[in-house]
Amino acid sequence: MLSLADLEPGSVVKIATGVETGRRLSSLGLVAGTEVRVVRRAPMGDPLELEVRGCRICLRAEQLRQVSVERVS
């Protein structure tokens, strides 16, 4: 299963159905079905900058590893 942490910058994905992202991530709008674009990695490789619901947020790869996603063509 593809996770949010494995993606190359520029990828656009959708959070897989049935995924529970936890209270913290879901309050940021990261819920199943939401489209996410990986904008870039920080200069030292971690954290990642994501575009979610019109906002740019950064999250550590470690927290994104449990979030499975589907590619959007």
Binding site: R23, S27, G29, G33, P47, R53, C58, R60
Partner: protein, 657 residues
């Protein structure tokens, strides 16, 4: 229901129709007023709105027992007054961080002494509705009279977006107003609404009751956005272009380093002319006071005690202003969040998270707001670690000490394009920061072992700073610094003057006035105290005068500067020698050698990097950690480290230099 364009017209026509005043000083004056709470995500423009509605001088309040700050102010229009409560920014109302919990508790009326608000002013960034409406829905669930304010509506249009606030208002069942807070657009209709919050519609909780989880909530948000015609905005191309450079894998790190170097260079290079003016001003004042006052103890107290003591610290005002201008500027344009993004990896090595970076960076101003900013960290262990290492970050109270000693003992030569003095300053800041990280690592791998919590942070679009706001923030910081000079430094200056003056030595007709002054100082209580602790500090290269300064600086670090200024003013009958010259020329009468040389200065600098000499920090740390155990540990650890660091520095420096 006014639409966005109507708001613009109203704002242009009605400006000045209402007026606002600052919050009254006495809390009881606001009792009995109906309270309107401001709720919104971080960076939604809540505080800009709060300041615009209440005037600039917000007061900081504390809940008994619960250590979270909230601000309140009074909104006035004609003879109507409303109490406005500015709550911490939050992404969710059932949050995990201490400052998010407080929002939840206030909306539940669970805080003693703080009644349930009469109405909610929910603030949402119009450019991020797809996210921020989630919080709006949560707020509406509370069923209080609610008004939704959409901020930054100008950016929606600029980025090719559309928005139908009427439709949003129909769907949500509350009034919706668009504003551009910093330009005052839309504030006039908002003020009209604030006059009568009881008339705001109470959204029926029935709409929200069916929402059981975030997924359903955001599905409702998507439906709302569709109804309000809030389409995807064009990406903010300007921010994208800037980020492509500033967050570039290599350039990004370089820029981060450059910003830090520039900060410390500017503190030295740009402050000097203004400092000279202040120095001359206080010198003139001391001279003038001696001419006006009859010669005697009172004139001595004013000239050597008050003016020398307070002036010795106030002279560093230009550097404080530069530091705060820089920090606020970085924050306002949006670089601070990028800096945290760039440096998060390093924070991770220390067992901290990027979110700890902003509290730690604000410690460059003062550890107290830094420790309080740590409330945005959800995990108790990371929050505790951040609070405990905060005092290692070089606060602005150390700046006068560093600036004095560096200016006196580090040659003003250049290393390539950079000044050596600025580099030494940067080195001291780095030493403090590295020790903070090292200590954090030590804590998180021993006493505070545990799981690293979720780190999340928003990267806001780059925005031009609002110069008026920047000016106000810098003024507030500068006046806080001057207030310290007028209170704690003034008080300690007077106490120290007394200790330095009494008891006096017997008059010796053979002495020159200078020798008599020196003899008087040697006989004083301060001298006895200094000599008492001298054996402990001698291995660090310190004499009794520095000892007096160190003891005095336990109250507040910069007191050592005023103390030294007084010691040298008392001993020097011709006032007017700059303190840095007096330090360089001071000769120990017993050894005939200079009291202050480079190793002593370096040793003293290192002592100040490590030691926790600040009563306020200790008190706030006790409040934030809920007891005296942690502050006691921190104080002991830091003092031990300071002694050891100074000892090593002095012993090494005397052998090498």
């Amino acid at each position: 229901m006014p639409d966005l364009l109507a708001c613009r017209a109203a704002a242009a026509g009605e400006r000045g129709a209402c007026f606002v005043t600052a919050a009254p000083k006495i809390p009881s004056a606001t009792e009995g007023l109906s309270t309107i709470a401001l709720v919104g995500s971080p960076n939604a423009g809540k505080t800009t709105l709060f300041n615009a509605l209440t005037g600039s001088s917000a007061k900081i309040g504390n809940y008994a027992g619960v250590t979270v700050e909230r601000r309140e102010g009074t909104f006035r229009s004609g003879d109507v007054a409303r109490r406005i409560l500015d709550l911490p920014g939050t992404y969710a109302l059932e949050g995990e961080t201490p400052d998010e919990k407080i929002v939840h508790q206030i909306l539940q009326g669970e805080i003693a002494g703080e009644p349930l608000p009469d109405a909610l002013l929910v603030v949402a960034d119009a450019t991020t509705l797809q996210r921020s409406l989630g919080l709006v829905l949560e707020a509406i669930e509370h069923g209080l009279p609610t008004l939704l304010v959409l901020t930054m509506i100008d950016e929606v249009k600029a980025r090719g977006g559309r928005l139908d606030p009427m439709a949003l208002s129909r769907e949500l069942g509350v009034h919706v107003l668009g504003v551009v807070g910093h330009r005052g657009v839309g504030l006039a209709p908002l003020r009209k609404f604030l006059e009568d919050p009881a008339s705001w519609p109470r959204p029926s909780a029935a709409d929200a009751v069916n929402i059981e989880n975030s997924q359903e909530r955001f599905a409702r948000v998507d439906a709302l956005c569709a109804a309000a015609a809030a389409a995807d905005l064009e990406p903010d191309r300007r921010s994208d272009r800037i980020d492509r450079v500033l967050l570039h894998p290599w350039i990004g790190l370089g820029v981060f380093g450059l910003v830090m170097v520039l900060l410390f260079q500017s503190i030295f290079a740009w402050a000097v002319p203004a400092m000279d003016v202040i120095d001359e001003g206080f010198g003139w004042l001391a001279g003038a006071s001696r001419e006006v006052l009859p010669a005697g103890l009172f004139a001595d107290l004013i000239a050597d005690g008050v003016i020398a003591g307070v002036g010795g610290v106030v002279i560093f005002l230009p550097q404080i202003v530069i530091l705060f201008t820089f920090l606020h500027l970085l924050q306002d344009v949006g670089y601070m969040a990028r800096a945290a993004f760039v440096i998060d990896r390093v924070m991770g090595w220390a067992g901290l998270q990027g979110r700890s970076f902003v509290p730690l960076l604000s410690c460059f101003a003062c550890a107290i707001p830094g420790m309080m900013a740590a409330r945005t960290i959800a995990s108790p262990r990371e929050r505790l670690a951040t609070i405990l290492v905060a005092p290692f970050m070089t606060c602005s109270a150390r700046l006068p000490v560093y600036a004095l000693l560096i200016a006196a003992f580090v040659p003003a030569t250049s290393v390539g394009p950079l000044g050596l003095q600025g580099l030494v300053m940067l080195g001291l800041y780095l030493l403090g920061a590295l020790t903070a990280f090292g200590t954090a690592w030590l804590l998180t791998s021993t006493l505070l072992r545990g799981q690293v919590s979720v780190f999340y942070m928003e990267l806001p679009p780059y925005r031009w700073p609002t110069w008026r706001l920047l000016g106000r923030q810098v003024w507030q910081s500068a006046s806080a610094f001057l207030k310290r000079a007028g209170t704690i430094i003034l008080a300690s200056s007077i106490v120290l003057w007394v200790l330095m003056t009494f008891p006096t030595a017997p008059e010796n007709p053979a002495f020159t006035p200078d020798q008599q002054a020196q003899a008087n100082l040697e006989a004083s209580a301060a001298s006895s105290l200094g000599h008492f602790i001298e054996p402990v500090i001698q291995p660090l290269g310190f004499d009794w005068k520095i000892g007096v300064g160190l003891v005095a600086s336990l109250a507040a670090r910069e007191v050592i500067v005023s103390t030294l200024a007084q010691l040298y003013a008392v001993a020097d009958t011709e006032s007017g020698t700059p303190l840095r010259e007096a330090l360089k020329n001071d000769i120990d009468p017993r050894t005939g050698e200079r009291v202050f040389d480079l190793p002593t200065a370096l040793s003293l600098l290192v002592f100040f990097v490590f030691a926790l000499q600040c009563t306020s920090t200790v008190v706030v740390m006790a409040r934030e950690t809920g007891g005296w155990g942690w502050p006691t540990l921190a104080f002991t650890y830091m003092l031990g480290l300071a002694w050891l660091g100074s000892f090593v520095t002095y012993q090494v420096a005397t052998r090498l230099l």
